[in-house]
């Protein structure tokens, strides 16, 4: 303590002088450290590339070598050629031509660096990304959507504040881990996800149950309510629990009976031409649903490509072929989502984030020095057949993230990765806590915001230490 104390003693003569002049006023004028930032966005759409989207084959093109039998894998980094975007100096890969045309509306981060959790399981890394905490931990950690729902509440009381689109809770041995982070955890189930596993059936989620028309549904609720009002128990006056039960039923009824909100959930009401632009698969239609919901006043929406082990972005073999299909699924809807939000004047107040639990590489599992077991199914040193061509190993040293709207810079590239393996983040690495802090900052929530559980504070970003990245904001 001595050094610091000596230092402070000298430094504090000024303090003392200030004190003599009525220093308490100084503290009154100085801003509290965890003051809530001014929100730049009211809504957020998280586009989740579940299963590990390979950056070298999507948003971070490197040395491209076309398929040819006999080529050693170490010579190849990307399996797609680079294409220009509408921003000078930002190139992405073939198959993302539509996103390339909206690149001037957003920021591309290439250096999202995530933890290497040893045996690299998707669900654990997805848990980490979605909660900010590495599992397992001692309390049930809330999903990022629950943090937002709890901190900000709904924008429109007829739309649940946290909607999750596209994930079926079934992923073999990882099912339970998926469930473990699709929850509000200790924040309480009021803030949990409103799950819509299939966007095509979203309308059903806010409609009366199958076979019940609106009239019957409404009669049933009205009878429920009148019975509650006339119950002999009700004569005892108000009761906290009784009132909370009735309020929850009323909230549900409002959601299920709000025609405007219900039509937002119903993507079949979308005009034909517009629908077609999103109609690339469930993810594309999920993007359409997200747009409609943001228009109607949703707060947090996640749309995922869906995690299904060894399918979709989880390319342990046949990577090139599968990624080509995945790009077909995401390219047009993402671009259309950005354009539609812009046309409707919503992009400024809506943050769109695209992310994945980690990236992939052809050769390296995890990061150099990782103890992670090689999980590639296409084990070979040289290309022999097409299934060997692609990114088949998990890579945690860098990954790509897109951000649009919500005060984020336009036409901006952040971070730099190595040109040769290992493709590590060499400039401006972005960790999960800092990325989350940036998202929360855009939404007007300080990164050290916390709620108490078991007498200790539990923070939005791990230990409250996430720092928003100022360079990303316009």
């Amino acid at each position: 303590m001595n050094n610091r104390r000596e230092f402070l003693k000298t430094a504090s003569s000024a303090t003392l002088a200030a004190l003599a002049a009525g220093a308490p006023n100084v503290t009154a004028d100085s801003a509290p450290r965890s003051e809530w930032p001014t929100p730049k966005a009211d809504s957020i759409i998280l586009l989740w590339m579940a299963g590990g989207m390979a950056a070298p084959d999507t948003f971070d093109p490197k040395r491209y070598v076309p398929f040819d039998v006999g080529v050693p894998l170490e010579k190849i980094i990307s399996t797609f050629p680079a294409i220009d975007t509408n921003v000078d100096g930002i190139k992405i890969t073939e198959g993302l031509e539509n996103v390339a045309k909206v690149m001037d509306r957003g920021t591309l981060i290439r250096t999202h660096k995530v933890a290497d959790l040893g045996h690299i399981l998707h669900s654990r890394h997805q848990y980490h990304w979605h909660t900010g905490y590495e599992p397992p931990i001692t309390v049930a950690a809330p999903h990022i959507g629950s943090w937002v729902a709890k901190s900000l509440g709904p924008r429109n009381p007829a739309i649940p504040p946290f909607i999750d689109v596209g994930q079926v809770m079934s992923a073999g041995g990882e099912t339970e881990a998926l469930k473990a982070f699709h929850t509000a955890g200790f924040l309480g189930s009021e803030h949990g996800p409103f799950m819509i596993p299939n966007p095509d059936l979203a309308a059903k989620a806010v409609q009366p149950p199958a076979g019940m028309d609106a009239g019957r549904f409404s009669n049933r609720y009205k009878a429920f309510k009148k019975l509650a009002e006339s119950s002999p128990i009700a004569r005892h006056g108000s009761s906290y629990q009784r009132d909370s039960l009735l309020r929850s039923m009323e909230n549900a009824y409002r959601i299920l009976n709000d025609k405007k909100a219900a039509s937002a959930f119903d993507i079949s009401l979308e005009e034909k031409d517009s629908f077609a632009k999103y109609n690339t698969g469930e993810f594309g239609r999920g993007c359409l649903l997200a747009r409609r919901l943001v228009e109607a006043g949703a707060r947090f929406i996640e749309v995922t490509t869906g995690y299904y082990p060894f399918k979709k972005w989880d390319t342990h073999e046949n990577g090139h072929t599968t990624v080509r299909q995945m790009k077909r699924e995401i390219d047009q809807p993402i671009a259309q989502l950005i354009l539609d939000l812009e046309t409707r004047g919503l992009l400024d107040r809506t943050l769109v984030v695209l992310a994945s639990e980690f990236s992939r590489d052809m050769i390296i599992e995890g990061v150099p020095g990782s103890s992670a077991r090689d999980q590639s199914r296409a084990k070979t040193d040289v290309l022999k057949e097409m299934k060997h061509y692609g990114q088949h190993r998990h890579f945690t040293g860098s990954g790509s993230v897109l951000m649009f709207g919500g005060g984020i810079k336009r036409g901006f590239l952040y971070g730099e990765t190595a040109e040769e393996r290992p493709l590590l983040s060499v400039k401006n690495p972005v960790t999960i806590p800092d990325l989350h802090a940036t998202i929360f900052h855009a939404l007007g929530i300080p990164a050290d915001h916390n709620y108490e559980i078991e007498k200790r504070p539990f923070y939005l970003t791990k230990d409250g230490k996430g720092k928003p990245i100022p360079a990303l904001f316009a």
Binding site: L16, S30, A223
Partner: protein, 608 residues
């Protein structure tokens, strides 16, 4: 002018003697400084634990030359204290200034490092004499509590509310109208004891209800948890143990010092693939879970660093975790290895020791002996408190996992614990004591949200909400009631079913972590699921169809539904409302709608 005004303002507010340590200073220091400068923490080698330690940075009578005061008023964000969180308000600064200038008043022996530690030893409590015919020891002890607190007591509920309470609390099922009729017609004054005894003697339904309580506590999931999760489950062991009413000391002993892979399922924890935080290795999970479930204490914080919320240290947690390990564990602080091995040791050395040199098997046996021995009064207090909370909605000590907190009646807690321990650790005996007390028959009380333990006065059981399993079993029971026996309870009870979406949303835990209570707060998502969720909808239609297919008149249908759901006749108004929903000729659809409207009534969902 402004600074000058501020000084006047301050001097008016805080003239000499106006600052009170307990009211003004202690909470301020606690909020603003204690996280880094009290307990085990002494950042910058400075601690506010005692007046002496605080004097390192404060000079009595001279705030101006007190470093503490300089730091809280500093303009430099690098040096300003507190370094985390908001600065002190001018009012708070003024309070501290006055406090220092007045000589730093500090209550004798007060220390910020002190956490309440509940007594460990059992205590014999002398029962007050029987008064007003109240013979049950619970009531005898409560009578003096009520007198002291000035609570007007003993307003009892009627037979209908009592019976529903007893059935749901003891076996998790609704009483049938027949069961209620014979109970209400029974003129025997001992009928309350008789019905409680009969319910407790129903081993099968007792087990099917209480298994959920223990599954939550031992995080026993019927389905596979995670990659790498262990293959054994406690389910069959739990069923057998509950049906046999296995003495609780033996029950705990088998889990702590297991004789089979099945029994080991609790302490074996969940093995995650890959690297996990050092506070979550299976041995540490065992330490945390055994401490939480059987000792009602929180070792989670102290698994990473010395705790901020209680007196447990990192060394103590590692010593305890090492009991479950094959060899002494290396201590990690905040997940960083320290290079120090910590040999096995028990949390309460005053009760005895675990031999760090013995084999794991021997150590676990020693630990189980220590946990369950008579001198460990905490072991019994924890479980009787959990049972009290199950029946009365809130523990004698609250929360139930923080057993160092002060009980609202230590006489009641200590008497119940002592009675439990000296009568064979018989869970049903204590349940019987609670459920046959007049206290259990008191009118229910609305819970006050976020009430602090010190503000709580016991006036009767809290109104409870049906758990997921109880609500859905109740719906099934209502379905069976449509056609008379012998089909009674032919359905598989929800406590024995795998977790589904509906139960998950209604609050049944995933059981990847120890859960000793459920959140009773109703939520919009639950109401949505109950209103249009597929599982619920199908169940309601099934029950509705059963009622619609009978030969009842509309009038009889309404009467019977109300009798089965609420154990009472519908009022005229209710009859009219129900009839208008059923329409002229009741159909599957309209009857289902009435069933739905009935079972979601607060009167059905709450235990009054």
């Amino acid at each position: 002018m402004r600074p000058y005004l501020v000084i006047i303002f301050i001097s008016v507010l805080f003239s000499a003697g106006a600052v009170d340590f307990k009211k003004d200073i202690q909470p301020l220091l606690k909020n603003k400084c204690s996280r880094c400068h009290s307990g085990h923490e002494a950042k910058g080698d400075f601690s506010i634990n005692t007046r002496d330690s605080l004097l390192k940075a404060a000079k009595p009578g001279d705030s101006g030359s007190s470093l503490l005061f300089q730091l809280i008023t500093s303009k430099d964000p690098e040096e300003r204290m507190p370094s985390k969180g908001e600065a002190l308000t001018p009012k708070q600064v003024a309070m501290v200034k006055t406090w220092i200038d007045e000589g730093i008043v500090w209550p004798k022996d007060y220390s910020f490092a002190q956490w309440r530690k509940a007594p460990l030893a059992p205590r014999t409590v002398k029962l007050p004499p029987v008064k007003n015919g109240l013979k049950n020891p619970v009531d005898r002890l409560l009578q003096s509590y009520f007198n002291k607190k000035g609570v007007k007591q003993w307003k009892l509920v009627d037979d209908r509310i009592f019976l529903r309470r007893a059935y749901l609390d003891l076996i998790g099922l609704l009483p049938t109208p027949d069961q209620y009729r014979s109970f209400s017609e029974d003129r025997d004054s001992a009928k309350y004891e008789k019905v409680v005894d009969a319910l407790l003697a129903n081993d099968e339904h007792y087990m099917q209800h209480w298994i959920s309580f223990w599954n939550d506590a031992f995080r026993n999931s019927y389905t596979r948890q995670y990659h790498g999760g262990n293959k054994y489950r406690l389910t069959n062991w739990l069923k057998t143990s509950l049906k046999a009413n296995k003495p609780y000391d033996k029950f705990a002993h088998e889990l702590i010092s297991p004789n089979s892979g099945e029994q080991a399922a609790f302490i074996d924890g969940i093995k995650w693939r890959g690297t996990v935080n050092s506070s979550q290795v299976v041995e540490m999970q065992a330490a945390q879970n055994v401490a939480q479930v059987f000792l009602g204490l929180n070792l989670k914080c102290a698994s990473c660093h010395d705790s901020f919320i209680n007196s447990w240290t990192l060394d103590q947690s590692y010593a305890f975790a090492s009991v479950f390990a094959n060899a002494p564990m290396e201590k990690h602080r905040c997940d960083k290895p320290t290079g120090n091995k910590v040999s096995a040791g028990f949390l309460y050395p005053e009760l005895g020791k675990v031999d760090p040199k013995a084999s794991r098997k021997v150590r676990l046996k020693q630990l189980a002996d220590l946990m369950t021995k008579k001198e460990n009064g905490r072991f019994s207090r924890v479980i009787v408190n959990r049972l009290w909370a199950s029946f009365f909605g809130r523990g004698l000590v609250d929360p139930v996992d923080e057993m160092d907190n002060e009980p609202w009646s230590s006489d009641l807690l200590d008497w119940l614990a002592q009675d439990f321990a000296s009568n064979g650790h018989d869970l049903k005996r204590t349940m019987r004591l609670l459920a046959t007390s007049q206290a259990y028959r008191l009118a229910s009380v609305n819970p006050t949200p976020n009430q602090k333990p010190k503000d709580y006065t016991f006036k009767g059981p809290l109104t409870k909400r049906l758990r997921a399993e109880q609500l859905l079993d109740g719906l099934e029971q209502l379905g069976e009631a449509a056609s008379p026996p012998p089909n009674r309870l032919a359905f598989k009870r929800h406590g024995l079913r795998n977790l589904d979406r509906l139960m998950r949303i209604l609050g049944r835990p995933k059981r990847d972590q120890v859960a000793t209570s459920r959140d009773p707060q109703p939520t919009t998502l639950q109401a949505l699921e109950l209103s249009n969720g597929e599982i619920m909808h199908k169940a309601v239609q099934r029950v509705g169809a059963k009622w619609a297919s009978g030969k009842r008149t509309t009038d009889q249908l309404i009467e019977d539904l109300f009798q089965n759901a609420f154990l009472r006749r519908p009022t005229q108004k209710e009859k009219m409302l129900a009839a208008s929903l059923l329409e002229a000729k009741p159909s599957n659809a309209t009857v289902s709608d009435l069933v739905w409207a009935i079972i979601l009534q607060p009167e059905f969902q709450l235990i009054h």
